[in-house]
């Protein structure tokens, strides 16, 4: 992380987010600490979407009228911005409904490889092959692989997690072997905050000829990410966690792989030539974007990338680093609070999950909510990880560029208040 960047001006940033000015629960100031679930959107993003719809809306890649041209340019321009943002080429970016669909796209396309031509050979998977995931995955990067294994007869295996909340890589050589076809893992845990050693996992996978699929939902919004430098084959992230709209996600695929990967969803836009009995398919990325795409959402996501770039991902990362450090320190000082995840802010992002002795996460969250502090409670779509960490449910605070040190204090105070309310302090 860079230390040279000047701190970001949070007050100026906050002024761009109208929702942060509202109150909740009888006049409490909103303290929004749930950006790990979804981020709020600045005016610039909302304005970009509205401006597109008011001036250039049309179905992209069809029609020869002026609006169709302008809409197509806006849509493809957004693709270029997003490609630049994560250090990849224009044609390596596929728009999906969300990140979950991106993982499913890869998993289903691999399943389809068995009935595709010889060019798809390297994606074929079947009995005797192995898919490797980790115990810290979000359900979105676990269930699609369980299902692919079930459909193809492949075996699902996984890395464990240490008590501290790091990946247990002690059996790396055994787990990633000649039978491994896919290694799917998260860049940054949405529960623990743990940042995984992507490059070394990608190297290990490549050494045995396995494909890597990276869940970058919690990393791309929060710091500089260069997917080419990380060396992964596929990566997914979502628009709504990075100041953009819901209804749009991004799949990155290394060019040579996208060129031979069979399609997932089929229909309009993704074809090369269609006859009554059979069809051929367009080159990527169009091959993976069947139907009229989510155009205004793509344009708005492009605007979100502009917004993030203008502030600087280094500065955002440094800002969140400081907030995370303060939150870990403040929460650790409260007797009866257990942090679920690494305690030091080394290879660790801004998701801070914890349990409060004697108070169920739902009940703690309810007290926090009554004080205006919005957090996530439950298993955060990572149920196996919660079982591993011996927590039925946790409270999760997650930070973003618009959060302030005062909001971290509000969180810590609210947790103490919850203890008072339930008489466990």
């Amino acid at each position: 992380m860079t230390t040279t960047a000047t701190p970001l001006d949070v007050a100026t940033v906050r002024a761009d987010f109208p929702i942060l000015g509202r109150t909740v629960r009888e006049g409490k100031r909103l303290v929004y600490l749930d950006s790990g679930a979804t981020s709020q959107r600045p005016r610039q993003v909302l304005d970009a979407e509205r401006a597109f719809l008011e001036t250039a809306n049309a179905a992209v890649h069809r029609g020869a009228h002026q609006l169709a041209e302008e809409a197509t340019d806006a849509y493809e321009g957004a693709r270029q911005k997003i490609a630049d943002f994560v250090g990849v080429d224009y044609g390596e970016i596929v728009f999906t409904k969300n990140a979950t669909e991106g993982v499913n796209l890869v998993a289903y396309a691999m399943g389809n490889a068995s009935t595709s031509g010889p060019e798809a050979e390297r994606f074929r998977i079947g009995p005797g092959d192995e898919i490797v995931v980790t115990e810290m995955e979000h359900h979105a990067n676990l269930v699609p692989w369980q299902q692919l294994a079930a459909r193809t007869g492949a075996t699902l295996r996984w890395f464990g997690v240490t008590d501290e909340g790091r990946l247990d890589l002690s059996n790396l050589d055994e787990l990633v072997n000649a039978r491994t076809k896919v290694v799917a893992f998260t860049h940054q845990s949405n529960v623990l905050g743990t940042v995984n050693p992507v490059r070394s996992l990608a190297d290990a996978a490549r050494a045995v000829g396995a494909l890597t699929v990276l869940d970058a939902c919690q990393s791309v919004p929060h710091g500089p990410v260069d997917l080419h430098a990380l060396g992964v084959d596929f990566a997914v992230f979502s628009g709504h966690k990075m100041l953009g709209p819901s209804g749009i996600g991004v799949l990155y695929g290394r060019r040579e792989l996208l060129e031979t990967l069979p399609p997932f969803l089929t229909g309009g836009s993704m074809i090369e030539m269609v006859q009554m009995a059979k069809s051929t398919f367009a080159p990527p990325p169009a091959r993976f974007e069947a139907g009229v795409p989510m155009t205004s959402q793509a344009v708005a996501l492009g605007a979100a990338v502009d917004y993030l770039n203008a502030i600087g991902m280094d500065r955002i990362a440094a800002h969140e680093h400081a907030l995370t450090e303060a939150a870990l320190r403040g929460l650790a000082e409260i007797p009866g609070v257990r942090i679920v995840g690494p305690l030091e802010v080394v290879d660790r992002g801004g998701a801070v999950s914890f349990v409060v002795d004697g108070i169920h996460a739902h009940d703690a969250g309810q007290v926090l909510d009554s004080l205006g502090v919005a957090v996530r409670v439950g298993h955060h779509c990572a149920w196996p990880l919660h079982r591993r960490m011996d927590a039925a449910a946790t409270v999760r605070a997650s930070f973003y560029l618009y959060n302030t040190p005062a909001e971290v204090d509000a969180l810590v105070d609210a947790v103490r208040e919850a203890q008072n309310f339930f008489g466990v302090s």
């Binding site: 629960r25 009888e26 169920h360 996460a361 739902h362 009940d363 309810q366 007290v367 009554s370 409670v377 439950g378 298993h379 149920w383 919660h386 039925a392 449910a393 309310f421 339930f422």
Partner: protein, 147 residues
């Protein structure tokens, strides 16, 4: 403060000192219910004596609302005919799904009226109904087993 409306003393009492907790034998049917959004779960057994609920026993882990409402459930249904227990269940479900607009009848729901405030929080309604869904399912299973 809104919080006190939700966490009535009655609810906190049932949470801290639950009635009828623990799994007991013999039983006619068992149901395991999970709230997939938060991972809360309850295992509940019913023991029937003809048309009467002889015992309800349960174990589980979850928030104060789900645990307290299951505790209240045992007070309301044990020793009563199944038909009457189901009427109470219907009244409780109606209260919980009423978004705070339903006036509860204390004669029917007894301590259950304390959950009226919970009904104003849609995200917590499932918590309050977890044990009741287990009860409904367990009775259905026991009747299915007899048929």
């Amino acid at each position: 403060m809104q919080l006190q409306q939700m966490y009535q003393e009655i609810i906190l009492d049932h949470y801290k000192n639950p009635h009828g907790r623990g799994l007991r034998d013999p039983f006619d049917a068992e149901s395991h219910q999970i709230n997939p959004t938060c991972g809360d779960e309850v295992t509940l057994r019913v023991s029937l004596d003809g048309e009467t609920v002889r015992d309800v026993s349960y174990d589980g882990q979850g928030c104060s609302i789900s645990q307290a409402s299951t505790s209240v459930l045992t007070d309301l249904v044990v020793g009563r005919p199944i038909g009457e227990a189901f009427k109470k269940m219907d009244a409780f479900v109606e209260l919980m799904q009423g978004r705070g607009q339903v006036e509860p009848d204390e004669d029917v729901l007894e301590d259950g009226i304390a959950f009226a405030g919970v009904a104003k929080y849609p995200a917590r309604v499932k918590c309050a109904l977890l044990g009741w869904m287990a009860f409904k399912d367990a009775v259905a299973r026991s009747e299915g087993a007899k048929a």
